[in-house]
Symmetry: none
Subunit: 219 residues, 4 copies
DNA sequence: AATGAATGAGCATTCATTCAT
DNA sequence: CATGAATGAATGCTCATTCAT
């Protein structure tokens, strides 16, 4: 787990508790949504509710911490990927194929309007997200310059599309849930290649446009 | 609205109310998930809770009715599309571009595990769904025979992919929410074309495999 | 059914409906208490709720009518019994052994505080009840004068005791429910005979004292 | 209160609350039946509904606990009585004259079919009840051998008869409600004596026959 | 006049959050 | 500090009563 330590000093055991809670919450939120009873989260972290609430005064603050953590991981991964790959298209492909943390982010931002609202109003997470999007933006530009990525597409589109392919797999039986995302990312990538492209309807969606304000949807 | 009239005879006003409730529930479920307070559903249908409950004795039975209705509409639309288009690829494209009812089905089946469980145990809805999948299956085969659709793909894949592109748009600002689905369906279609396709990882997923049994996820 | 016709004129079919409702309500109240859903009562009378409510504007008024009817029957039976039996003790025995209408009265008065409150405030029923108690009072006096009935007992005691033996049989299996009341009435009668008697604790309870004011108990 | 401690360890305050709830529920159930609003029970125990539900997850489990407790007390009382009284008839008399806990049992078993169903399916309570009935059975046999108790009677009859005399007193004004049960128990006992008894109709009812299966009656 | 639909108040139950141990 | 108990507000569902057909 990667945690941007905001709380300066924390005794070792308290720290450990905090981490266990975030891990557990991430798993539980990903599996069953952000509306699970707090007691469930506590139980699955192996602590009492009291402890949970001492660390995170309400559900929102827990969601915020989980999001924070996931965004951090995504950013780190992305940096690591870029550090090794000079080819923009390959880098993009790899990033889109990435796993759990990205999936958490997707769930949190795409599926739960509550999480979205929280994330949108958290400067810390937003900052990390912006850094991530900048990196992707650069890759997009470079991949297009290389003639690999279609022109009528922008960073926001990529963000949304990666999101789609990483979610919604719960409808599949266990066996397929593992292989399906890779398949659909691959289909998408084929659809994103310059060579294949028919002109798209609408207009490119930029990175700035995917940070959202719709607070009503709640699955 | 398309309602398969199961209840033999219903007084005109009762019928009207029933329809209003299903419409309202469809909208509300699509907007805010299947867990909205029943009172909300009632209010948005302009009836009292009592009426809602008289017609649908519990939430499950309402979800079932909404699903039924949505599946019916999807099937009808699909038939109409096929009736006019002899070209399989075009037919598939059009079906994938279709709107609200399909979106409801997707929401209901992909996002809410509760809805999934209900639908899976409703023979009526399942029957309609099967008819729909058969139609698509035929289109897929034909489009592949025509050399339009890539070979390493099957009906289940198409079903999942259409689902993905039709959901998750709530993360976008109002303006884009309208145009985005069409864009992403287009990208997907480009990715699905036979020409230039790279081999996909995994294996084709058949129609039978997307009727699902995982009841834990609940957003 | 014996109904003291208060409502002067009533069309034949309306009259028939009224009677069917009272019969049904008597049965249902006796079986399942005075709190059964009105819809149940209506269904078991074979009419719609609307009709039920047209006849009896609320639950209380239905209970009142049922009580009325039962009291009437009890009074009639008692008169008939007395008319044939000059021996007071035998008359008392027979009255105590009587069946359904008496049982309804007992249920209504002993088990449901609501019914009790209603009956107590209904001059009509009260009048009938008073006539009944006067008859019993006379029998008690005569049976004591004959040396058959113990002296330290009064009409109120008899009323309460008959009530007890006629109720609470629902705890027994079907077969016994039929024979049990007769057995226990017999035991009671043996206990009431002058010859057997040890002095009782407390004091004789008169007829006036069993018309009651406690409105809290509600089974 | 006698509580069979099933839950291993319970914080002092929780334990205290548990006991208060059972006491309150016993009183309230006895006064107003097993259908009182849970909120009433909670209020009368001086706790919030939440606490009530934490301890007893639903109404049935509360009824079960109250029954358990009452049966325990009855059994204890009975043992104590027997321990001091070698004379079977006197022991029986005393047991029949006993008060509140017995009355609760009676209410619960005789008046509420719901309670009956619960008790019948609770092995724990059933066990205690069986022990109780064995003790009474023995007393009945001895009292008959002593020539004190009439021969044409069995344990089940005694159980039913004690039940009758201990209930239904709510029809009486406050003052009499205190003395009445003793009076009627006395009458019954006179009726149960061997001397002067007339043969009873029907047949003796054994202890096994009063554990019942009729779940429809609900007062 | 009879019917059954509509309404909404009432009670059961769950769960976020606070607080005593 | 950690724990789990207590609280009460929110929501599901039922049913008495009213009213349109």
């Amino acid at each position: 787990m990667t945690t941007t330590d905001t709380t300066p000093r924390l005794r070792a055991d308290a720290r450990r508790n905090r981490d266990r809670i975030i891990s557990a919450a991430q798993a539980v939120f990903t599996e069953r949504g952000t509306e699970v009873p707090m007691e469930e989260v506590a139980r699955s972290a192996g602590v009492g509710v009291g402890t949970l609430y001492r660390r995170f005064p309400d559900r929102d603050s827990l969601i915020r911490a989980v999001a924070q953590d996931a965004f951090d991981t995504v950013l780190e991964d992305t940096r690591a990927t870029i550090a090794q790959k000079p080819d923009a298209w390959t880098a993009l492909s790899q990033i889109m194929h990435r796993g759990l943390a990205l999936r958490t982010v997707v769930r949190l931002t795409v599926l739960s309007s509550r999480a979205r609202a929280i994330i949108n109003s958290d400067p810390n997470t937003e900052a990390v997200n912006n850094q991530f999007l900048e990196l992707v933006e650069d890759l997009v530009r470079r991949a297009q310059a290389d003639g690999k990525l279609r022109e009528d597409i922008s960073t926001g589109d990529i963000a949304v599309l990666s999101g789609l392919a990483l979610q919604g797999m719960q409808a599949l039986p266990e066996e397929l849930r593992t292989i399906a995302p890779a398949r659909y990312i691959a289909v998408l990538l084929d659809g994103l290649r310059a060579e294949n492209s028919r002109p798209l309807p609408g207009r490119p969606i930029s990175a700035d446009e995917v940070i959202i304000r719709t607070p009503e949807v709640e699955f």
